[in-house]
């Protein structure tokens, strides 16, 4: 990590980075165990500062939250640890993506959820079917190339969809999707129509889904750092 990026650990722990810088820094964290340790410590300091002036909320809020939790299923636990998987990594960035997921598990999101549903999928496409599933979880994430990607997962349909209408159009290159498991990237295909998106089978737990920019028609293995990497289970 360059010394310039290195000094962003404080701003990162204070959530004082823009989404783009945040994604960049999170990628670099994947390659720097010492930086991860520093961030973990600084986040602990920030958390103590944040917990320093408690204010009791109303009893009504407690009742509301307990009732809402009662209606919410929990995510299943991870059965493999990504740290162990890193031994098998093929390329440096995959290790980075895996480490980013480890951070995701620690609650430090590398993706930024956005309220604005721009990039909403075209009404009747297969992509939209996943977004409209009654059990769909959706999120909007910023990509490193300045776009917004909408993601939906539906356990009932066993599908995951990305809506790519908010991604910058490419000329002479393609967006390619990957599933990364045990440090191994498998192509999930090129996104043929950026004006809609792509539907995948819902990946198994512990799989990272990433998008890279590749030569037209795609590559056998990723040749670039991903513009976005996410854990579908956290959508």
């Amino acid at each position: 990590m360059s010394s310039d990026l290195h000094t962003l650990s404080g701003a990162y722990a204070l959530d004082a980075l823009t989404p783009e810088e945040r994604a960049l820094f999170a990628t670099h964290l994947g390659d720097c165990p010492a930086c991860r340790e520093e961030v973990r410590e600084l986040q602990e300091v920030a958390a103590r500062m944040g917990a320093d002036e408690p204010i009791a909320p109303t009893p009504e809020l407690k009742a509301r939250i307990l009732a809402a939790a009662d209606r919410q299923p929990q995510l299943p636990p991870k059965v493999t640890t990504l740290e162990r998987d890193r031994r098998h990594r093929r390329t440096a960035w995959i290790g980075g993506a895996a480490a980013a997921v480890v951070l995701l598990l620690a609650g430090a999101f590398t993706v930024v959820r956005l309220q604005q549903p721009d990039g909403t999928p075209v009404a009747s496409s297969p992509v939209a079917q996943v977004f409209k599933a009654p059990d769909a979880h959706t999120a909007t994430v910023r990509t490193a190339n300045g776009g917004r990607l909408r993601v939906a997962t539906s356990t009932a349909r066993g599908q995951m969809a990305v809506s790519t209408t908010g991604l910058p159009r490419l000329t002479g290159h393609s967006y390619q999707m990957w599933t990364i498991r045990n440090g191994r990237a498998t192509s999930a295909g090129v996104i043929a129509d950026v004006s809609t998106g792509k539907v995948l089978r819902l990946p198994a737990d512990g799989t990272t889904v990433a998008i890279t920019i590749e030569p037209p028609g795609g590559s056998d293995q990723p040749t670039q750092k991903p513009i976005v990497a996410m854990d579908p289970a956290t959508v």
């Binding site: 310039d4 290195h6 000094t7 962003l8 650990s9 404080g10 701003a11 722990a13 204070l14 959530d15 004082a16 823009t18 720097c32 165990p33 010492a34 930086c35 340790e37 520093e38 973990r40 600084l42 986040q43 602990e44 300091v45 920030a46 958390a47 103590r48 500062m49 917990a51 320093d52 002036e53 408690p54 204010i55 009791a56 909320p57 809020l61 407690k62 509301r64 939250i65 307990l66 809402a68 939790a69 009662d70 919410q72 929990q74 995510l75 299943p76 636990p77 640890t81 480890v102 951070l103 598990l105 620690a106 609650g107 430090a108 930024v112 959820r113 956005l114 309220q115 604005q116 289970a233």
Partner: protein
């Protein structure tokens, strides 16, 4: 980051909150209620300081606890403390709420002093010591470190916005945020 392996870290067993989160991970609703009782004040307190508006702070608090409930089975204690995890989620969501709503002008005045109620947690003695420690340690920061950390953390500004507000170069603010937090960390460790 210099010799991360060489600093002595006090051996600590799991805290109450860590143990509770472990039970929450197994779907224990009673543990979730206890966890709420332990942390709701801290979560709501931070949410109010950042988003200001009590109704929105309640919404943030609800989002935080539902996320904690949903993701508890995936929490890995080897990566940090449960309370840190919850407060990190709280801060992220509070800051998102503030930045999302940029049309709504943030007021520069601090949280009004009329706090409705101020519940002391059960372990109020320990908590009072903790409060004292954080405040004492904040006092050890330079003015620029303190302002940089506070504006980012409690007002939800990016470091570039902080640099503009304080009329300082970006690299200076980045560095002050980092060395300010490091100084706080070292000071808090001395208080254990």
């Amino acid at each position: 980051m210099s010799e991360p392996g060489l600093r002595l870290v006090p051996a600590q067993g799991p805290s109450d909150v860590d143990l509770l989160l472990g039970r929450v991970a197994r779907g224990d609703s009673a543990a979730f209620e206890s966890l709420y009782d332990q942390l709701a004040g801290a979560v709501f307190g931070l949410a109010r300081r950042v988003v200001r508006d009590p109704a929105r702070a309640e919404d943030v608090t609800q989002e935080v606890f539902l996320e904690v409930w949903r993701k508890a089975p995936r929490f890995d204690r080897s990566l940090g403390k449960a309370q840190t995890w919850v407060m990190t989620i709280t801060h992220r969501r509070a800051v998102d709420a503030v930045r999302r709503n940029e049309s709504q002008k943030r007021q520069d005045d601090r949280l009004p002093p009329e706090r409705i109620s101020h519940d002391e947690p059960a372990d109020s003695v320990i908590h009072a010591e903790e409060k004292g420690a954080v405040r004492e340690c904040l006092d050890t920061l330079t003015d620029l470190q303190l302002e940089s950390v506070r504006l980012a953390y409690f007002n939800g500004y990016t470091y570039a916005e902080v640099a503009t507000l304080l009329d300082k170069p970006l690299p200076t603010i980045k560095t002050r945020m980092r060395d300010g937090l490091i100084r706080l960390r070292d000071c808090l460790e001395g208080h254990r």
